[in-house]
């Protein structure tokens, strides 16, 4: 070997080795060969599949996206009828997946943090209850939990006709085995002003926060940013609401024939899925939170007390920021798990992406390769975006070495 450890061997010019022995050139060469081989294999794989599909007489391509779907979907966040296209159906499924994932992540995080802190509580009962919660929920398969919520809890609710409601009489809310019925707000002209007001309020909150931070650095005086911000966030849209003359119409639900009609309905499939995903993932998040807090050395707490910080300030300013560095990476995995687990929806009839697009659309069009590829790409994209966001957040709270 002419070169070791990349250190020049002293003999200048005279012993200049051939390019073959240059580790850098060799590395590039082998990587290039590998890329060509991989590219060829991918290409031949795709053309092989396409060739086989054509030979077997199976239609392929993405033209089906523009065709009429012709079926109904139980829960739609965007306007959808049976006359909509397959692409619209895809969109409905995607939004249903995103909604249950986003809400699941929100609730799982809240419950997880509470239970995680409860496991460290000094109160015996709270601590043990939290332990029982974690050990029960994280040790039962999620699919069973979903079936439990759907079949054992929600399916035994009474039928709407058995809840004692009178035909045609409106109610504020009602819960039956067709779902939770709540009033629906129908926006009228001017309603968008309230949304604008809310956005302005959030912007104001941020500005006040920045101003308060600077002032504190300069003068040491604190400003109640949170309370002020909350007051603005509630007050400004509320003021707009009254100024624009309450531009909402409220629609209540009522028993009509077989079913409730009117109002907003939250279907039992959705409730079961959200409950199952949130409670299951929360049990893992609770352990992650507990681990994160325990990872902060006890000396940190003692030092904070020695400096005269209150217990509240100690946890908010000393413990939690350091614990977050330990918590966030595994938390990201849990968020990804929750999103992917939402595809178990197919077992309890929630119309998510897999059920609507990978199920019904696949079967109506018969184009398995395209549909499954798109479904996989969608999950990959959602996961990568979640990861990217969490990595960004992680770098915000990571230890900055000065």
């Amino acid at each position: 070997m002419a070169h070791t450890d990349g250190v020049a061997d002293g003999t200048e010019d005279s012993g200049r080795a051939s390019l073959i022995y240059d580790p850098k050139v060799r590395g590039v060469f082998f990587q290039a060969i590998l890329i060509i081989v991989v590219a060829y294999l991918v290409y031949s794989g795709i053309s092989n599949a396409a060739g086989n599909l054509a030979r077997a007489g199976i239609a392929s391509g993405f033209d089906f996206f523009g065709e009429r779907a012709g079926f109904e979907i139980g829960q739609t966040l965007v306007h959808y009828t049976n006359d909509s296209t397959y692409f619209r159906a895809f969109l409905v499924g995607l939004l249903n997946t995103l909604m249950v994932s986003a809400l699941g992540i929100l609730f799982a995080t809240i419950i997880g943090f509470i239970v995680g802190l409860a496991r460290l509580s000094r109160n015996y009962l709270i601590r043990k209850l939290a332990t029982v919660y974690v050990e029960t929920l994280r040790n039962i398969p999620l699919l069973l939990q979903l079936l439990f919520w759907y079949k054992a809890v929600l399916a035994v609710l009474p039928n709407p006709r058995e809840t004692g409601l009178e035909q045609g009489t409106t109610v504020l809310w009602t819960l039956n085995n067709r779902g939770l019925y709540i009033p629906r707000l129908i926006p009228e002209a001017g309603a968008s002003a309230i949304l604008v007001a809310a956005i302005i309020a959030i912007a104001l909150w941020v500005v006040i926060g920045m101003w308060a931070g600077k002032r504190q650095m300069r003068t040491g005086q604190q400003f109640p940013t949170f309370l002020t911000g909350l007051a603005i966030l509630v007050g400004l849209p509320l003021l707009t609401f009254f100024l624009t003359g309450m531009p909402f119409d409220v629609e209540f639900s009522a028993l009509q024939g077989f079913n409730m009609s009117g109002g907003t309905v939250i279907r039992p499939e959705f409730i079961a899925l959200l409950l199952g995903l949130s409670l299951y993932t929360a049990s893992f998040i609770a352990e992650i939170v507990r681990a994160g807090i325990l990872a902060v050395a006890k000396g940190q707490t003692e030092a904070a007390y020695a400096l005269g910080l209150s217990p509240n300030h100690t946890s908010r300013l000393v413990i939690i920021p350091q614990a977050m560095r330990v918590i966030i990476p595994p938390l990201t995995s849990q968020y990804l798990n929750l999103t992917k687990n939402s595809s178990l929806a197919v077992a309890i009839g929630y119309p998510d992406l897999v059920a609507v697009f990978g199920g019904t659309v696949l079967n109506q069009t018969g184009q398995a390769v395209e549909v499954i590829t798109i479904t996989m790409l969608v999950y990959l994209t959602i996961s990568l975006l979640t990861s990217a966001f969490m990595n960004w957040f992680n770098s915000r709270v990571a230890l900055v070495e000065r």
Binding site: L34, L41, A56, A59, N259, P351, A355, N363, G366
Partner: protein, 340 residues
């Protein structure tokens, strides 16, 4: 880094290699080589394809597969069953996992032309219907507006349902499941007001509910559902075998040949029967089978009428009348081209 790269290459190579083995032509040779027919059936629909209490598959769809096995191997039990959901069935057939799909599958144009499949006949003429609780007091499907409807995904049922409600200016809320058992459980627990699928299926499912007598199948039939066996496109010999096993069973009923009397019928002087049972001509050899192929089908499985009566007929719990499935000579639609 390099290792993960290499293993990725290996993965792609394996995937490409698998793709190359798909779509082989001579199904009959493959079946003979492995010694059994791989038959795609439902996950359990009484009368059509469902395991009995001894674990043996029974039903008219099952008997078609048994007939094919009898024609090839002289042994109706040389069949292995793959229970498939509605969603899985076509992919299983396209990929070569099964040889015949005999799973109450509706013959439609798009399935026949776009999926690379061929329908080999109609072994049951069905139509989509509705089942409701008697307590609803409904006696026509036209009174169902606003109802929650339980339906299985991946079926023509989902589309017919939409069309019917749309044509009659009615609304409904679909509750869609992938597996038949899940739809049954949801309907049984009153999650839905209405259950819709093919009428034959409704009768079968009604028997499995906790209180069958509380439910009624509405009279409306909202679609044509010709159910039949399916094979892959591109293998005409196999297509012919499946088609003619079905026709042989219908012809046998028409000619009065049953599993009981088929041995006596071997001495028949009727040229139609002689051709069917292989006493005259070489019809079996033309599709790669023995000349007594139809004899074996009838001897081991029975004619169409026997199969119908044994699985779904008046004497069974399903109690379905022949109706459209009677022979053409009796005013029904079952009609087979002659063996000639």
């Amino acid at each position: 880094m390099k290792y993960s790269f290499l293993s990725a290459v290996a993965g792609v190579a394996v995937a490409a290699g698998l793709g190359a083995t798909a779509a082989s032509a001579a199904t009959l040779d493959d079946v003979k080589a492995k010694g059994f027919v791989q038959c795609g059936v439902s996950t359990g629909l009484a009368g059509f394809s469902a395991p009995d209490d001894a674990g043996d598959w029974k039903g008219i769809d099952v008997d078609l597969c048994r007939g094919v096995a009898a024609a090839i191997f002289d042994d109706a039990s040389a069949v292995k069953y793959s229970p498939l959901s509605a969603k899985e069935r076509f992919t299983a057939l396209q990929s070569g996992e099964i040889d015949i799909l005999s799973r109450n599958t509706t013959w439609t144009m798009s399935r026949d032309t776009e999926l690379g499949l061929n329908f080999a006949g109609v072994n049951y003429y069905d139509g989509q219907g509705f089942m409701v609780r008697k307590s609803l007091g409904v006696n026509s499907a036209l009174q169902l507006s606003g109802a929650s409807v339980c339906v299985q995904t991946g079926t023509t049922t989902e589309l017919n349902l939409t069309d019917y409600f749309k044509a009659n200016n009615m609304t409904y809320n679909p509750v869609v499941f992938e597996k038949l058992e899940e739809v049954n459980a949801a309907y049984d627990s009153n999650r839905c007001d209405v259950y819709t699928t093919d009428q034959s299926g409704l009768y079968a499912i009604r028997l499995g509910l906790s209180a069958p007598d509380d439910h009624v199948v509405l009279p409306e039939v909202i679609s044509k559902e010709p159910l039949g066996p399916v094979v892959r496109q591109g293998d005409d010999q196999w297509f012919s075998i499946v088609k003619w096993v079905h026709f042989a069973m219908i012809n046998a009923e028409e000619l009065g040949v049953t599993s009981e009397n088929v041995d006596e019928m071997m001495d028949s002087e009727n040229p139609n029967i002689m051709r069917l049972l292989g006493k005259e001509g070489t019809f079996g050899e033309a599709v790669g089978l023995e000349n007594d192929w139809a004899y074996q089908v009838i001897k081991n499985v029975g004619n169409y009428g026997e199969v119908f009566e044994a699985n779904v007929g008046e004497s069974t719990p399903l109690g379905i009348a022949r109706g459209l499935n009677a022979l053409w000579t009796n005013g029904g639609l079952q009609y087979a081209p002659p063996v000639r």
